[in-house]
Amino acid sequence: MRDVAVIGGGVVGCAVAWRLSGTAARVTLIEAAHDLCEGASKGNTGIATSGGDCHPGTLELELVRRSSPGWEALCACLDTPFHRIGTLAVALTEEDERRLPELLRDAQDTGAAAEIVTGDQARALEPLISEEARAALHFPDDGIIDSIRLTIGYAELAARNGVEVLRGAPVHSIERDGDRIVAVTAGDRRIATRSVVNAAGVEADTISRLAGGEQFRTWPRQGQYWLLDRELGGRFRKVVGGVPTPVTRGIYCVPTTNRSLLLGPTAVDHEDRTDRAVDAETLDHVFHAAQRLAPSIAREHAIKTFASNRPASDPTYRIAVDAEVTNLVHAAGIRSTGVSSSPAVAEMVRGLLEGLGLPVGDQRPDAITELEPLPRLLGHPRPEQLFARDPRYGQVICACEQVTAAEIAAVHGMAVPPTSLEGVRKRTRATGGRCQGAFCLSGVSFLHSLHAGRRPPQIAVSEPDATLGIGAHDV
């Protein structure tokens, strides 16, 4: 019997598992995909907003504001890169400029730090922005975060504290006894549980329906992105966006914590939850919008394009006990700010579970609170120390991202290790650089094969049936 079954291995579900893992509760985390962090949590801008772009009076803003000051400390515990570099919302037109005072007042109402700077001041803060910038709204407390490392870090720490992590386990059915859930069937497992947290992202409506809970609708909001070379991204000092309009927040240029540059996202609501296709027209639009903000961006810097679906819903931020099912807690409709609010969402969910009488009140003294950092060769100031620790740091497998055999070996020793090449990429960045695996995919596959104990024909690119090869031939 489990105390809590958390459904959904994205940033919200993993944060909840992390928060509960230090308590006396027995917790199982359930993810349908082959790995954690396979939905919106892996395809997003990686901005940890300080809330200046949220609406006053909303739960979203409250939870973002509660989370924002703690990122440095939390990320140090979760071995997750975070840099509080700030955002510039750049006014390129007279009309943009006229809107800034009103946007500043809105931002000030949120409690987030914000200031209007002149065009020259903005260019001093970020020399790569356009000469046409007339002024900008500066949010100095916004940060950039590796949302994949954060999500996996939450889950890794949870697993080390004894949370059971089930991957490749889609929920088929949820059993009820009266107004309570008694068990969840996921993959080939039936998990008897005293409570359920619904953190299923875009599938949160499906989970509520399976549980016989409240009826609401979640749907995918697709965003398309470009990923640009880190030789360019490393030169950016600020997140750069346009002036948001009532219709859209527009396209951002976001330097990532691994120094690449993301351009995006678009926001198009659609129906197909599996559709992650990009199209040339939308990508052109994104690129041109980004180029208006920072003219030195060029197509030759592009290394990847991708799309992801973030969960849209009405209302957003449904974090509450279900009205029908008394031991079902929703953490649903957490739209694009899921990364930014995840620590506070987790704490709020913990409070709701405590209210239901679950043993999530006190911290266990033996629970660990931080992960031992895995040092990375890329940008490391003292590589000789790494080599002394493990000579496999001398073997660079992925040359673009400078990922070594030591790092690939280490992630296979995690409590939640990779089970696919995509899993290796998410944990190490191997194959994610400018050659997109053209030179290292074979080497990464070999090491994954070795560490995961899989023969080459069984190596999966992502889901188990998406194998790298389609069969070995007797040569």
Binding site: W226, L227, D229, E231, T274, D275, R276, A277, V278, D279, A280, L283, A302, I303, K304, T305, F306, L377, G379, P383, E384, F387, A388, P391, Y393, G394, Q395, V396, A399, C400, Q402, T404, G433, R434, C435, Q436, G437, A438, F439, L441, S442, S445, P456, P457, A460, V461, S462, E463, D465, A466, T467, L468, G469, I470, G471, A472, H473, D474, V475
Partner: protein, 267 residues
């Protein structure tokens, strides 16, 4: 110790070795390569490799990866650990690769089975087939090699989609089809690629898309990817990479290094 300036060359292919050879009387040369043998894509048995490697007078540091160029210091790492060397100039002679998916502008989803020709060939050489009915984008050597290697490990047929036309002789294999002057605009399939749509409007069934078109410089030394300080790029962008082009690029890079050194020596 010599008072000649130090020059670091990354890449022990024929380009890098030619450059080293041309500079042997004016600089203290170190050639670094990831692969533990010289020769690059032309291999260590090529006549030029066998002549140049011993004659170029350089320190050959093979099996080391150069990773950072900062403040005229090159950081490389290998089985003996990290090593730093100061240098008056850096030559990047690290070869080329076929274009990637984003560079080719291929839209659509992200199914498994869309791989670089370099990977498809490497896997084929190890007996692993990426697709029984691969669609190969490209019409040069990478594409030809992918077609023949995939056929050799069991591909039933292969279709070459050649954006710039077929640049080599038509393959002597009835199971290799050729579509000239067309390109792949999008791919679809879950979890593995099932179809590719061409610019001509046609949609072809396939179970792999092998990217073998175009040429991009392979550059992985931080600080010397585009316009590094005193960095010289010697990367002939050609498919196939010919020995003649490699030698010309190496000689040109040597001239550029000489002029950098001369500038420094002038007061």
């Amino acid at each position: 110790m010599s008072d000649r300036p130090a020059v670091a060359i990354v890449g022990a292919g024929i380009t890098g070795l030619t450059c080293a050879h041309a500079l042997r009387d004016v600089a203290e040369i170190t050639v670094i390569d990831r692969i533990p043998v010289p020769g690059g894509v032309h291999g260590w048995e090529a006549t030029e490799t066998r002549e140049l490697a011993p004659a170029c007078g350089a320190h050959l540091r093979l099996g080391e990866t150069a990773i950072r160029w900062d403040g005229l210091t090159l950081l490389a790492i290998g089985q003996d650990g990290p090593r730093q060397m100061g240098a008056a100039a850096l030559v990047i002679a690290t070869g080329a690769r076929p274009l990637g998916r984003a560079e080719l502008g291929i839209a659509g989803g992200r199914p498994a089975g869309v791989v670089a020709a370099t990977v498809a060939c490497h896997l084929a050489e190890n007996g692993l087939l990426v697709g029984r009915r691969p669609l190969i984008v490209g019409g040069g050597d990478w594409a030809m090699r992918a077609a023949s290697e995939l056929r050799a490990v069991g591909a039933e047929r292969a279709t070459l989609v050649c954006p710039d036309g077929l640049l080599r002789e038509r393959p002597n294999d009835v199971a290799v089809h050729v579509r000239e002057h067309d390109r792949v605009v999008s791919v679809a399939g879950t979890p593995r690629v099932r179809t590719a749509t061409l610019a001509s409007g046609e949609t072809l069934g396939c179970d792999a898309v092998v990217l073998a078109h175009g040429v991009a410089a392979l550059r992985n030394v931080d600080g010397a990817v585009w316009a590094g300080d005193r960095a010289v790029y010697a990367q002939p962008l050609a498919d196939p990479a010919t020995v003649a082009q490699a030698r010309a690029a190496g000689a040109e890079a040597a001239a550029a290094v000489r002029s950098l050194i001369d500038q420094e020596e002038r007061p």
